[in-house]
């Protein structure tokens, strides 16, 4: 009797009602709170993005005025950066799976964990309140460059406060993960026996803790300047607009690695599981995360090559930027080598992981183009940059997020989605994504600046192709969501370990019990990915 009862009680059905969710201290439920709120904002961001693409279908006015367009792209950026992609993988899947993968029952500081979700909600409400209060949503771009952000009549102060509060949420999550990784690993799990997802989160958390305070103080300076008229960045009041750019990118470039590293962690989990063999080059992959996090601090100046910085500063920032490519390349080659002599089961999570590699390669290689000084002078602030960072963030992190969703879906909800529909949705997403963003790279080389409401006739065709891509992408997204919701509602019960993985989350039930493990999990012999059924070398 008792055995059956414990099997049926899991973290999802142990308590009922909204209060048992929004005041929960269980890391799995907090992970899901994040997952649902993040996904909601992702869809808001997608709708704004689609509206922008519709406006750009033809030159001139299609569906909105210039000012509205400027507000739409700002809100799209703020939502996608601060409400979706920065918290995306760490706050949802990180919260849910880090403690389980470390073989423990929760994060170190569960109350702080709940607080960080509440801060996220408050920050989100701040951002949304600009739709109703003040002069409307900011029209500055998500970068809030001074002095325009000081002069414009839109509600910049509230948007900036939103980012400020969200920053705290991010810092607290990072802090919690660092403490958890140091203190709560299951006995026998040394740092070098941690799953690579944990390594990636560890590197990410350090960036969150060390870099985020800088954006916090910088954004407060904007508010101080707007409200009290203290000239910090506006030269007409004695300020320096270039100072703002430095302060902004000192955070916002490392933030790119907050977005990318957890995605790399997900890929490092998915590939060994579907190859049924150990990861190739565990240590290079783990340590390269730390190297990326470290070098990533010193490259922010590459956003400012055309701002009038000195030649020596430009050389240093350019060469450091190129150095980031090396640990990234190491990861890609090791993932590739992990497929070698595997026993590969081509399931949808694996396809998302491989699509991550393809898209991220384009994102990274175009990053080399903008890292080179001479070329950056040409393509900086053009659609080339827009294409480049969407390949990194959406094609990379976004696809890894979808991959994680399909990979851990059976573990989180204990159900399985329809695999055929998932393949079709993946195909539409991959094709739609590339039709949407590849033309932007060409537009940029042709010289179309970014943040353009209207454009010259020579840019028409490629903009139309790009907009058509956005429709295919949206169909793929809707099909994917439909398939996952159908799977949750009516899907067959999933086994505890449907993919035959060996990291610790696959040793517990699906969905996991309240305290994650009914019996102490056992570490695999000889490393976290040492598949017992595979031949040794």
């Amino acid at each position: 009797m008792t055995a059956i009862a414990t099997q049926q009680i899991n973290y999802l059905n142990v308590k009922k009602g909204i209060w048992s969710w929004i005041f929960t201290l269980d890391h799995k439920r907090i992970g899901l709170l994040y997952l649902y709120s993040i996904s909601t904002f992702f869809f808001v961001g997608v709708i704004l993005g689609v509206l922008m693409r519709l406006e750009l279908f033809n030159p001139g006015r299609d569906i909105m005025e210039a000012k509205t367009y400027n507000q739409v792209f700002t809100l799209h950026g703020v939502i996608m950066i601060f409400l979706f992609i920065i918290p995306s993988i760490p706050a949802s899947f990180g919260n849910f799976f880090l403690p389980i993968m470390l073989g423990t029952d929760d994060v170190s500081l569960p109350r702080l964990n709940l607080l960080s979700w509440w801060l996220y909600v408050i920050g989100a409400l701040f951002a949304l309140s600009t739709l109703v209060f003040g002069g409307g949503p900011a029209d500055t771009g998500w970068t809030f460059y001074a002095p325009y952000s000081v002069k414009t009549g839109t509600n910049v102060s509230m948007s900036v406060m939103a980012a400020f509060v969200l920053g705290f949420s991010s810092i607290l999550t990072g802090l919690n993960f660092i403490v958890t990784i140091h203190r709560l690993r299951t006995p026998g799990m040394t740092f070098n026996k941690m799953p690579l997802f944990a390594w990636a989160l560890y590197a990410t958390s350090w960036i969150q803790v060390l870099a985020t305070p800088i954006i916090g103080i910088t954004l407060l300076m904007i508010v101080v300047e707007r409200v009290f008229g203290i000239g910090l960045f506006d030269p007409s009041m004695g300020g320096d607009p270039i100072l703002y750019q430095h302060l902004f990118w000192i955070y916002s470039h490392p933030a790119v690695y907050i977005m990318a590293l957890p995605a790399m962690g997900v890929v490092s989990e998915i590939i060994p599981t579907f190859s049924q063999r150990t990861i190739f080059g565990y240590k290079p992959i783990a340590y390269s995360s730390m190297a990326i996090a470290f070098v990533g601090y010193f490259v922010w100046g590459h956003h400012m090559f055309t701002s009038g910085m000195s030649g020596s500063a430009a050389i240093i920032f350019s060469i450091l930027t190129f150095l980031v490519a090396i640990p990234t390349a190491i990861k890609v080659f090791n993932w590739l080598a992990t497929l070698y002599k595997g026993s590969i089961d081509i399931k949808v999570p694996l396809l998302f992981a491989l699509a991550f590699i393809f898209n991220f390669l384009i994102g990274g290689l175009t990053g080399l183009v903008v890292g080179a000084l001479a070329v950056d002078v040409h393509v900086h602030d053009t659609y080339f940059v827009v294409g480049h960072f969407h390949y990194v963030m959406f094609g990379g992190t976004g696809f890894a997020f979808f991959g994680a969703l399909h990979y851990w879906f059976p573990k989180i909800w204990g159900k399985m989605y329809n695999m055929t529909r998932a393949y079709v949705a993946f195909g539409l997403l991959f094709i739609g994504f590339n039709i949407l963003y590849f033309p932007m790279l060409i537009l940029g080389v042709m010289g179309m600046p970014r943040r353009y409401y209207d454009y010259l006739p020579q840019f028409h065709t490629l903009n139309q192709i790009s907009t058509i891509g956005s429709w295919i992408l949206v169909v793929g997204l809707l099909l994917m969501i439909y398939n996952l919701i159908e799977g949750y509602r009516k899907g067959p019960k999933a086994a505890g370990n449907p993919w035959h993985g060996i990291t610790l989350e696959w040793q517990t039930d699906s969905p996991p019990p309240l305290h994650n493990f009914d019996k102490m999990p056992e570490l695999p012999e000889g490393g976290p990915y040492n598949y017992p059924n595979a031949k040794s070398e």
């Binding site: 063999r277 080179a372 600046p449």
Partner: protein
């Protein structure tokens, strides 16, 4: 011949990096697909645990390192000459303001597009009275930020006859994408003739000429459309609610009010418009100019 002296350095680096990028993208993608087929569950029922290979790790650390150093090097050599203009380059003051470019030549001629002689080095001194802009000439592969309060400059040698777009690459507000101009590269004689000529303005109201020249009409339309500033149409004699020292008052627009709005725009701001956006024209426009402008505004009924 390339459109400017920088095209070669930029394009060479661009194609070099793209070449390497395409090689790796195709190589990695095809290897990935090959492994997926060759080591699929069906063909390879039992996997092999291979933990790593020191030689390979060194190989794929060293090769990317060499390649990125090469890329950096060409990026740098293409960029270095952009930093310093040669002695004796013709200096033109290029002003970007919301949302118009204007160019002031050494002899005092002011134009809203650039006309340049072939093969002569040109240095643009970049000024902005309001927010950030970026002067971008895609055909020349060149852009530089225009920073208010700063003294940035850019230089180049136009090498091919033709007319090329000038765009603003740094987002600067509502009409950012309409901040367009052109650069025409012409022969020496044509250039000299252009420099001497002045546009035929005999049919244009001198007030309108001044409004155009000072970028007033980028923000204030003459046809009643609302931009970031109130339209000039029907302005004279209109009742407006304005904020003076934070107090809302209703005033009737007259010559004195318009004069004040031009010289000290922040003293009284029409309700629903933004303060601190407009540059004070106190030291830019003479009293005579302002009178011509007001005369013109009076005609816009």
């Amino acid at each position: 011949m390339n459109a400017s002296n920088f095209v070669e350095g930029v394009d060479f680096t661009l194609y070099l990096i793209l070449g390497i990028a395409v090689f790796f993208l195709i190589g990695i993608t095809f290897t990935m697909i090959y492994f997926l087929i060759r080591f699929s569950k069906k063909r390879s029922p039992v996997a092999t645990n291979i933990e790593g290979h020191l030689g390979l790790e060194i190989l794929w650390t060293v090769i990317p390192t060499i390649l990125v150093v090469i890329m950096f090097y060409y990026g740098w050599t293409g960029y270095k000459p952009m930093l310093t203009a040669p002695e004796g380059a013709m200096e033109i003051e290029a002003t970007g303001q919301m949302w118009k470019w204007s160019f002031k030549y050494p002899d005092g001629k002011v134009s809203d597009s650039l006309v340049l002689p072939l093969d002569k080095p040109v240095k643009l001194n970049l000024k902005s009275p309001d927010v950030l802009h970026s002067l971008y000439i895609p055909a020349f592969r060149l852009k530089h930020d225009v920073v208010p309060g700063g003294n940035n400059s850019m230089w180049f040698i136009p090498q091919k006859h033709g007319s090329y777009d000038i765009l603003c690459a740094e987002y600067c507000g509502q009409l950012h994408s309409y901040m367009l101009s052109t650069v025409s590269v012409v022969g020496e004689d044509e250039y000299a003739a252009w420099l001497k000529s002045s546009p035929d303005l005999s049919n244009e109201h001198p007030g309108l000429t001044l409004l155009k020249k000072n970028a007033c009409i980028s923000c204030h339309t003459t046809d009643g459309t609302r931009l970031v500033g109130p339209s000039f149409k029907g302005l004279m004699g209109r009742q407006e609610n304005v904020l003076i020292d934070g107090n809302e008052q209703t005033i009737t627009v007259d010559r004195d009010f318009i004069t004040q709005s031009i010289t000290e725009p922040n003293a009284a701001i029409t309700v629903s418009y933004q303060s601190n956006l407009m540059t004070p024209y106190k030291d830019i426009l003479s009293e005579e100019d302002i009178n011509k402008i007001i005369d013109y505004i009076q005609t816009l009924k």
